[in-house]
């Protein structure tokens, strides 16, 4: 990395932290550098994973300015306020103070990236109707310069009726000082004038707003006029005399579609402005331009896309191994150490088997999860996700969806929760629900631990051609998830969610260098969430499971070992203790349910414990198989390989393991996902359906694999 990532020393960061005065909403097109700027201004404050084009939850942070501080609220990236997609609706609601308890912001910072000034100006014109003090942050001026485009900032400010414009080269951090001082004085600024693109619309809307006795803002009226059949249109007709509304509509739009007329007026103006403020400068010919051109042709682009996916799988498996071995060894060492410290009694067992084996078996997967998230975040930050949507649109049409569904599905490989929120970019409700139902099938990072454990334990690490067999099996599991998701979408779009062919309208960002700070902040954020889960939910479950497996204690004095067994006396004792523990008794009750899949009561208990959060399964297995393990079976994989039924048959046969993995590939074991489906669909019907459907499909899949496999092997 070069000087681009050296942070500017910010005097405020060493000075006094001030309480924020005033709230400013940050808004702009998707991929306009909004998040990067937001992170720069608010410093190392956590964000909650800003997934493709979506600001998940309300991000806010305090920007420390000279002598004051302002609270910034990051809004979803949008192209227009038309309210077509959920994101556009959210942005409008927040700005108008309709989102929950939040008051209206005191100011707007509109982020426009210099290469896409044309589309940025359209949104800005709509935002000027809000009548809130407004400023413009012109980002990526350095990227535009490299492409031979220079923007005359003063001329632009004039064209906007005096709205201040602050150029920032986000990667270099130049221009931040001026931006901060403008931001500090933003709340004292006058509200913007009528947008120059269509003053007649603004004036007519202001008139109707005045006639509504203050119940409607000017933007409400405009939305009602532009979309007369939508909710805003109905509200307008309730508040204002319908005749007056019709008169205004006829004058403004004649008989043309209002949204099209708005686009024509605003873009006619944007075109003139861009012509006046954009200067061609000599482009610094990038050596990579020709390569980029070739790579973005149909076939090379598609091949490259699949190659990059294969690279991710290889990386997750091979690069993470040394780190994982290190964590594994550390956990085993800690276990031995605690046994040495606390002895072999309940306390020693609690620390070594409960805490260290439980939590350690999950934390070990942190390196893989970091690598996986790093790839997804890089794809997002370089604008590649949108490119992938473009390449895959035609394939997605086969299952009745559009390329827009590719973005949430790809990010589901990291985690289904933010990706289900990312479906807000899909305008059509039916397509959105079909995508939401498909998303949990994608192999998320929480499934990796169980896959990695089972593959490492039961799939030989031989090479098949250029690839390693373990990697191929993992790739197969990913394909299984993709197949499950697409088949589900296809079924839904042909039955309950049948509807017209979805549109596919998407702006494609240029390929950009990722910003190190943004990538690191997002990555740290995901790791934090993962470790927090490991430290709280998983810790508690591990402890509870340990206690259920450890108590009640059996009186060993009357225990007679079975001389015909090939097991050591110690192991027989431990197994007998386990079988009569609370957990053993409960496991025995559910065992018949999962017996057709070849699972013993320990696997069944672990799977049931894993329904709230699937990472827990490994932790529970870690605990269950630690109690009563041979001392030389240090790792969980070895313990699983040694596990047997009472009659000495192996529990973990290859068909059973494959079936178990199929179960994991298709089952919805994640309370957070169920909750987010409930929230995003605003009903209980869909989350209940998704959970039931996926559990049944997973069970049947595991059953078929186990039966067929057992017959063959």
């Amino acid at each position: 990395m070069s000087a681009t990532t050296t942070a500017q020393v910010d005097v405020d960061s060493i000075g006094i932290r001030r309480r924020p005065r005033g709230r400013v909403a940050v808004i702009g097109n998707p991929n306009s550098g909004k998040s990067t700027l937001f992170n720069r201004l608010t410093g190392l404050r956590q964000t909650t994973g800003n997934f493709p084009g979506v600001t998940v939850e309300k991000h806010s942070g305090t920007a420390q300015l000279d002598g004051s501080a302002v609270e910034l609220v990051d809004l979803p990236g949008i192209y227009s306020l038309a309210g077509a997609s959920t994101d556009e609706q959210i942005a409008v609601d927040v700005i108008l103070g309709r989102a929950g308890e939040a008051a209206r912001p005191d100011g707007l910072m509109v982020v426009i990236d210099a290469p896409h000034i044309y589309q940025g100006l359209y949104l800005l014109q709509q935002l000027m109707e809000l009548q809130v003090p407004t400023m413009v942050a012109l980002t990526m001026t350095d990227a535009a310069l490299a492409a031979g485009i220079e923007i005359d900032v003063d001329a632009l400010s004039d064209q906007l009726g005096g709205i201040p414009v602050c150029p920032v080269a986000t990667t270099l951090g130049t221009g931040l000082g001026e931006l901060k001082s403008t931001l500090a004085g933003l709340s004292e600024q006058p509200v913007p004038p009528y947008p120059a693109s269509w003053p007649a619309l603004s004036a007519a809307a202001q008139g109707l707003a005045d006639a509504s006795d203050g119940t409607l803002a000017r933007i409400d009226v405009i939305q009602g006029l532009v979309d007369p059949t939508g909710p805003a249109g109905q509200q307008l007709c309730r508040q204002v005399d319908t005749g007056a509304v019709d008169d205004v509509s006829t004058t403004l739009f004649a008989d043309k579609p209002p949204q099209a007329e708005e686009a024509r007026h605003r873009y006619r103006w944007a075109r003139d402005v861009v012509g006046r403020v954009r200067k061609q400068a000599p482009a610094s010919r990038r050596a990579l331009a020709r390569v980029e051109q070739w790579v973005s042709r149909p076939w090379p682009a598609t091949v490259l896309f699949f190659l990059s996916l294969v690279l991710v799988f290889q990386a997750v498996f091979s690069w993470a191994t040394p780190l994982m071995d290190g964590i594994d060894a550390a956990a085993a060492g800690l276990g031995d150490l605690s046994r040495g410290l606390f002895g072999d009694g309940a306390l020693g067992s609690f620390v070594a088997d409960g805490i260290i084996a439980g939590v350690g078996s999950v934390v070990i997967f942190l390196p893989q999860i970091v690598i996986l998230f790093l790839f997804i975040i890089l794809m997002e930050d370089t604008g590649y996700l949108a490119r992938a949507a473009f390449l895959m649109d035609r394939a997605m049409r086969r299952v009745g969806l559009s390329g827009l569904s590719v973005i949430p599905m790809l990010s589901s490989f990291a985690c289904a929760v933010p990706s289900i929120m990312a479906t807000r970019v899909i305008p059509d409700r039916r397509d959105r629900i079909a995508t939401i139902l498909a998303a949990p099938f994608m192999t998320c990072s929480a499934r990796l631990p169980i896959y990695a454990l089972l593959i490492a334990a039961f799939v030989p690490a031989t090479s098949v051609g250029w690839f390693n067999l373990q990697g191929l099996v993992l790739f197969g599991l990913y394909l299984l998830g993709i197949f499950g998701g697409l088949a589900t979408a296809w079924l839904m779009k042909r039955s309950a969610l049948r509807g017209p062919k979805p549109h596919f309208v998407l702006a494609l960002p240029e390929f950009r260098r990722p910003n190190l700070q943004t990538v690191l902040i997002k990555l740290w954020d995901r790791c934090r969430i993962f470790l927090k889960r490991a430290g709280t939910v998983i810790f508690v479950v591990a402890v509870v499971v340990w206690a259920l497996a450890y108590f009640p204690r059996m009186d060993m004095s009357g225990f007679t070992p079975d001389p015909s067994s090939n097991q050591s006396v110690d192991n027989q004792q431990a197994a007998a203790q386990m079988a009569q523990s609370y957990l053993g008794r409960a496991g025995k009750v559910v065992e018949p349910v999962f017996e057709p899949l070849g699972w013993d009561w320990r696997v069944s208990s672990a799977v049931i414990a894993g329904f709230p959060a699937r990472e827990v399964v490994v932790a529970v297995m870690g605990t269950l198989y630690a109690v009563g393990a041979e001392a030389d079976e240090s790792s969980l994989a070895e313990r699983l390989r040694a596990a047997t039924w009472p009659d000495g048959r192996m529990i973990f046969t290859l068909p059973m393991v494959l079936g178990l993995m199929v179960f994991y590939a298709w089952c919805l074991q994640c309370a957070a996902t169920v909750a987010v489906i409930r929230r995003e669909t605003n009903s209980w019907r869909w989350p209940i359906f998704a959970w039931t459907y996926m559990t049944v499909v997973a069970y049947l899949g595991a059953f078929v694999v186990f039966r067929v496999g057992s017959g063959l092997f």
Binding site: S296, A507, P509
Partner: protein, 76 residues
């Protein structure tokens, strides 16, 4: 001639579009309106969707919508 018939590197002015189609209206909010010059950039496999740029900003357009957009080619 329609937008669907543009080939590599060709530039054209949009002359007319069917503004009653909701998909076309979405394209209009991204800046494809009558009177702007568009340039053909790329296509996905099978030539659908296509990528056109307007003022340097790329937009993805499906062929069935591109067929509803009339253009007149510009001399290179």
């Amino acid at each position: 001639m329609t937008l669907a018939e543009l080939r590599n590197g060709m530039r054209a002015d949009i002359t007319a579009m069917n503004a009653s189609d909701p998909g076309i209206i979405r394209l209009m909010t991204l800046g494809l309106v009558e009177g702007v010059a568009v340039e053909f950039r790329n296509a996905a496999i099978g030539g659908d969707p296509i990528e056109v740029s307007v003022f340097g900003a790329s937009v993805s357009v499906r062929l069935d919508q591109a067929r509803q957009i009339e253009v007149s080619p510009l001399e290179p």
